[in-house]
C-alpha cells in the first residue's frame, strides 16, 4: 500500500518549548488516521505544515510524494481542507462562498455541493454572518468534501455539529475511504476518533507519544465510576474485582476506574444497596495520565 502522507523529523519550533518536534509519521492511502491530543499539543501546527501554510523549522512532509512546502500548490489539488475555524466571510451567502473558493480550484461539481448541503441540512442561501457555529462548520465540510479529494485534512471536524450531523459526517468519511480516499483528522475527543478512524496518533507537548491501531485504543479506554452506597461499602470486594483499579472510598462513596467491561464491578457490588451510580468517559488528558502511569 502506498503512503498518502509521510513526515520525517518534522519540526516547527516556536520557541519556549512550543511547537512540533521531530515528528515521524506515515499514513497509508485509504486509511482514516486520527490525530489525537489535548489543546495546544501541536495538532493544528502539523495540519498547517501539511497544507504549506507555515514552513517547517526542520524535517519534511510529503503528500502523495509531493513536498508540502515546495510543491504545496500541487499538494492542494489533491486535498480537501477544513481549518480549525472558518474565517469571517461577512455578508457573502453560503452559495457564494462555495462558488468563490471552488472557483479558485478551477471548477465546482454542483451536484456534489447539492448532495452535501442536503445531507448536512445546510441552507446555502443564507449569509455567512447569519450562520450559527454548527452551520459554519457544515459549510467548512461542504468546502472540504465538494471536489471529492484523494486526501481530506480535517481539523476537529465535528466541533459544533449536533449528533445527527456527526453521524452524517461519519458516513461521509466512510464513503470517502470506500472510494479510495484517505482521511487525516485531528480531535481531542477519543469517542469521536473511535467511531471514525482505523488508526490514531497521540501527540502531547509537540511530540508524538503513540501511534496505534484502534484495538490498542480500545484497550486504553476506561470509565470513571462513582457509586453511592446505602449501607456498608464493599471496597474489599471491589478492589479484588477484575478490571477495576484506582479504588478510593470517602464515607459511603466509592470511586474507581473500570477497564474491559463492567462484569467484575457489578459482581462485586451485587449484594450491596446502591443509591446512586455514575459512569463517565474520562477526558483525553486523564486517559493519557492513566496510559503513561501504566
Amino acid at each position: 500500500m502506498t503512503s498518502a502522507i509521510v513526515m520525517h523529523g518534522l519540526t516547527k519550533d516556536y520557541g519556549s518549548g512550543h511547537g512540533l518536534f521531530d515528528l515521524d509519521l506515515e499514513v497509508a492511502e485509504g486509511e482514516v488516521f486520527g490525530f489525537l491530543g489535548p489543546n495546544g499539543a501541536g495538532k493544528t501546527t502539523t495540519i498547517r505544515l501539511l497544507m504549506g501554510v507555515i514552513h517547517a523549522s526542520a524535517g519534511a512532509a510529503a503528500v502523495f510524494g509531493l513536498d508540502c512546502d515546495r510543491e504545496s500548490v500541487a499538494v492542494k489539488r489533491e486535498v480537501g481542507y477544513l481549518p480549525g475555524e472558518l474565517p469571517q466571510f461577512g455578508g457573502m451567502r453560503g452559495s457564494e462562498v462555495v462558488s468563490y473558493l471552488g472557483g479558485m480550484r478551477g471548477g465546482i461539481d454542483r451536484s456534489r455541493v447539492k448532495e452535501l448541503s442536503e445531507r448536512l441540512e445546510l441552507d446555502l442561501g443564507r449569509r455567512f454572518r447569519e450562520y450559527s457555529r454548527g452551520n459554519k462548520q457544515k459549510l467548512g465540510l461542504v468546502l472540504a468534501f465538494m471536489h471529492s479529494p484523494r486526501l481530506l485534512i480535517l481539523d476537529e471536524p465535528t466541533s459544533g455539529l449536533d449528533p445527527l450531523n456527526q453521524q452524517t459526517f461519519q458516513r461521509l468519511v466512510g464513503e470517502a475511504t470506500a472510494a479510495g480516499g484517505t482521511v487525516f483528522l485531528s480531535s481531542h475527543v477519543l469517542s469521536e476518533v473511535e467511531e471514525t478512524c482505523s488508526r490514531v496518533g497521540i501527540i502531547r507537548e509537540g511530540r508524538l507519544v503513540s501511534d496505534m491501531t484502534m484495538d490498542k485504543v480500545h484497550e486504553l479506554r476506561f470509565h470513571e465510576v462513582v457509586i453511592e452506597f446505602g449501607g456498608d461499602v464493599p471496597d474489599a470486594a471491589v478492589r479484588r474485582a477484575a478490571g477495576v483499579a484506582d479504588v478510593s472510598v470517602e464515607g459511603s462513596r466509592l470511586t474507581c476506574t473500570v477497564h474491559d467491561g463492567f462484569d467484575g464491578l457489578l459482581s462485586a457490588i451485587s449484594g450491596s444497596r446502591v443509591v446512586d451510580m455514575v459512569s463517565r468517559e474520562p477526558s483525553l488528558e486523564s486517559i493519557f495520565l492513566s496510559y503513561y502511569r501504566t
Binding site: R48, M51, G52, V53, I54, H55, S72, V73, A74, K76, R77, V79, Y81, P83, E85, L86, P87, Q88, F89, G90, G91, M92, R93, G94, S95, E96, V98, S99, Y100, L101, G102, G103, M104, R105, G106, G107, I108, R110, V113, K114, S117, E118, L122, D123, L124, G125, R129
Partner: protein
C-alpha cells in the same frame, strides 16, 4: 477590557484623525504669513477676499470672523471644517463599536466573559471620550504651535473653549451613532442611517446660516450648537451653554442607547424586519463572476469600488465648479495674485490641474492604503489561509490583489476624468484631452507605488503595515508640500511619491518620476512575493 485592546479597536480612527488633525491645523496656521503676506495691509486684503469667499461657501462653513488674522483663518479653515470631520469620526466609531464588533462576535464574547451590557457600553464610550479628548487637545496644540511659528500666538483660553466645543460635538455624534446602531442590525445600515441624520442636522444649520429664514428644529442640530462657538477667532465667543447642550445630547443619546442595548437581542436591532419565507438553497452560486480570477475579487467588493468611484466623480465635479470661484479669490488677493501671473498657461486650466490632481492623488493614495489594510486583515482573519488552501500559489494571490487594485483605480480615475471633461466646457475651462488622459493614466502607477510598498509591508509584518504605510504617505506629502516652500534640493523633493507624479495636466509627463514609480512597483511587489512565500501565514 484592557486599554490596549480598546486602542487596537480604535486604531484606524486614532491614526487617521491624529495625522490629519495635527497636520492640517499645523500647516494652515503656520503657513498663514506665506499666503496672506506679512504686512498688515496685505493681511487685511487677504481677509477681505476670504470674507467674500466665505459668503460663497456659507452653506458649507460658518461665516469667517477676522480672517485677516492667523487665528481667524484657523477658526474658519480649521475648526469650521473639523465640525464635519470629527462628527463623522464620532458617528462611525460608534457604529463600528456596536455593529461591526457585534458582527465579528466580539460583543458576544465580551458579554459571556461576565461584563454587563451597561458596563461594556460605558467602557467603550468612556474610552472614546478620553481618546477624542486627547486628539482634540493635540489638534489644538498643533494650532497653537502653528500660530506661534506664524508669529501670532493664539489666545489659549479661546483655544481651550473651541477644543471643548469640538470635543462635545464629537461625543454627541458618538452618542447618536450608539443610539442609531441599536435600532438596526448591521453596520452598513447603521452607518447609512447615522450619516443621514448628521446630513439632516448639517443642512438645518446650513439653511439657517445661508438664508434669512431659520428652519424649524435648527436648535437641535449638533452643528448649529457647535457653530455657536468661534472662540479661536479674535473677538470670538465660547458658547458654554451650547457646548453643555452638546454634552447633554451625547449623554441622553448614550442613556437611550444603553436602554436599547439592554433590551435587544445580540445580533439584532430594536427594529426587526420579519424575514420572508424563502426556499432553502442547496447549490453553489451560479454567478460566473465569482469563479474568474481577479473578477471574483472585484465582484465581491463591487459596492466599495462603486462608492469610491462615485466619491471621486463627485469630488471631480466639485473641483470643476470651484475653479472659477478660486480663480476670482486668487485674483482679488494681493498676496496670491502674483501666483496667477507666474502660472504656465490658462489660469483656470492650471487651477483645475493643481486642485484636481492634489485631490485625485490623495484619494487614490488613501484607496491604496485601505486595500493594504484589507490585505493585512485577510492574513489575521484566516481568509488568506482559506485562499491558500486552494491550489493557488502565493504569488497568484499577490498578483490578483495588484491587478484588482489597478482595475479599480483605473475605473475611479477615468470616470472622474469623464466628469471633468463633461463639466469643464460649461464652466469655461479648456482642458487638453491628451494631457488629461496622461495625467489620469499616471494615477494608476501612482496608486500602485503605495500599494507595492504596502504589499511588501503586509507580506513582512501585516500588523504594522497600515501604520507604516500611512506614515510614509504623510511624510511623502509633507516633503511634497514643504519642499518648494523651504527650497529643498531636487533630490529631496523627489523622495516624495507625490513629486514623482509631477503635474502632467500642465507640464509634460515627468518621465524620470514615472520610471522611479514603476521601479518601486516592480521591486515592491517582487519583494512582497518573496517575503510572502517565505513567511508563515497568520503566524
Amino acid at each position: 477590557m484592557p486599554p490596549r485592546l480598546l486602542l487596537r479597536l480604535h486604531r484606524i480612527g486614532l491614526i487617521a484623525m491624529s495625522y490629519f488633525g495635527i497636520f492640517y491645523v499645523l500647516v494652515n496656521s503656520a503657513a498663514f504669513p506665506l499666503i496672506a503676506g506679512k504686512t498688515r495691509a496685505s493681511q487685511e486684503a487677504f481677509g477681505h477676499s476670504i470674507t467674500v469667499l466665505g459668503a460663497t461657501f456659507s452653506w458649507l462653513l460658518p461665516t469667517p470672523v477676522r480672517p485677516d488674522t492667523s487665528a481667524g483663518y484657523l477658526q474658519w479653515r480649521g475648526y469650521g471644517f473639523f465640525a464635519i470631520l470629527f462628527a463623522a469620526w464620532g458617528l462611525f466609531s460608534a457604529c463600528g463599536a456596536v455593529r461591526r464588533d457585534e458582527d465579528r462576535g466580539l460583543v458576544e464574547s465580551w458579554l459571556s466573559s461576565g461584563i454587563s451590557r451597561l458596563r461594556l457600553l460605558i467602557t467603550r464610550s468612556l474610552f472614546f471620550a478620553v481618546l477624542s479628548a486627547e486628539i482634540v487637545t493635540l489638534t489644538g496644540a498643533a494650532g497653537w504651535l502653528g500660530c506661534l511659528i506664524a508669529g501670532t500666538p493664539l489666545d489659549v483660553a479661546g483655544l481651550v473653549g473651541e477644543s471643548a466645543a469640538l470635543w462635545a460635538l464629537t461625543i454627541a455624534s458618538f452618542g447618536l451613532g450608539l443610539l442609531v446602531s441599536q435600532l438596526v442590525s448591521d453596520f452598513r445600515t447603521a452607518a447609512s442611517a447615522g450619516s443621514a441624520l448628521l446630513v439632516l442636522m448639517f443642512l438645518l444649520d446650513s439653511i439657517g446660516r445661508s438664508s434669512v429664514h431659520r428652519a424649524p428644529f435648527t436648535d437641535l442640530s449638533v452643528f448649529f450648537l457647535f457653530n455657536q462657538s468661534n472662540a479661536v477667532a479674535p473677538g470670538g465667543t465660547f458658547a458654554a451653554l451650547a457646548t453643555i447642550v452638546l454634552v447633554v445630547v451625547g449623554a441622553a443619546a448614550f442613556v437611550m442607547a444603553s436602554l436599547g442595548f439592554v433590551r435587544r437581542d445580540i445580533g439584532n436591532g430594536l427594529i426587526r424586519t420579519r424575514p420572508g419565507r424563502m426556499a432553502e438553497v442547496h447549490d453553489a452560486s451560479a454567478n460566473p463572476l465569482l469563479r474568474l480570477p481577479i473578477v471574483r475579487g472585484l465582484w465581491i467588493r463591487r459596492l466599495g469600488s462603486l462608492s469610491w468611484t462615485v466619491g471621486m466623480a463627485v469630488t471631480a465635479a466639485s473641483v470643476v465648479l470651484l475653479v472659477n470661484i478660486t480663480a476670482t479669490f486668487f485674483a482679488s488677493t494681493p498676496t496670491l495674485s502674483p501666483y496667477l501671473r507666474g502660472l504656465p498657461g490658462d489660469v483656470h486650466t492650471v487651477l483645475l490641474a493643481l486642485i484636481w490632481l492634489s485631490f485625485a492623488q490623495a484619494l487614490v493614495a488613501i484607496f491604496a492604503i485601505t486595500c493594504v489594510s484589507r490585505w493585512s486583515a485577510d492574513d489575521s482573519s484566516g481568509v488568506l489561509e482559506m485562499q491558500l488552501a486552494e491550489p493557488l500559489p502565493r504569488w497568484g494571490v499577490l498578483t490578483e490583489r495588484a491587478v484588482e487594485l489597478t482595475v479599480t483605480v483605473t475605473l475611479m480615475s477615468f470616470v472622474a476624468m469623464a466628469v471633468i471633461l463633461a463639466l469643464a466646457p460649461a464652466e469655461g475651462i479648456s482642458v487638453d484631452v491628451g494631457r488629461m488622459l496622461s495625467s489620469t493614466a499616471l494615477l494608476v502607477p501612482f496608486a500602485l507605488t503605495f500599494a507595492a510598498v504596502g504589499a511588501l509591508l503586509a507580506g513582512w509584518r501585516p500588523r504594522v503595515a497600515v501604520v507604516t504605510l500611512s506614515t510614509i504617505a504623510v511624510i511623502s506629502y509633507l516633503v511634497f508640500e514643504l519642499g518648494p516652500l523651504f527650497k529643498w534640493p531636487v533630490w529631496a523633493d523627489n523622495l516624495s511619491v507625490f513629486q514623482l507624479y509631477g503635474t502632467p495636466l500642465i507640464t509634460p509627463v515627468f518621465v524620470g518620476g514615472l520610471v522611479a514609480m514603476l521601479a518601486i512597483v516592480v521591486v515592491g511587489f517582487g519583494s512582497a512575493g518573496v517575503v510572502l512565500a517565505r513567511r508563515d501565514v497568520a503566524a
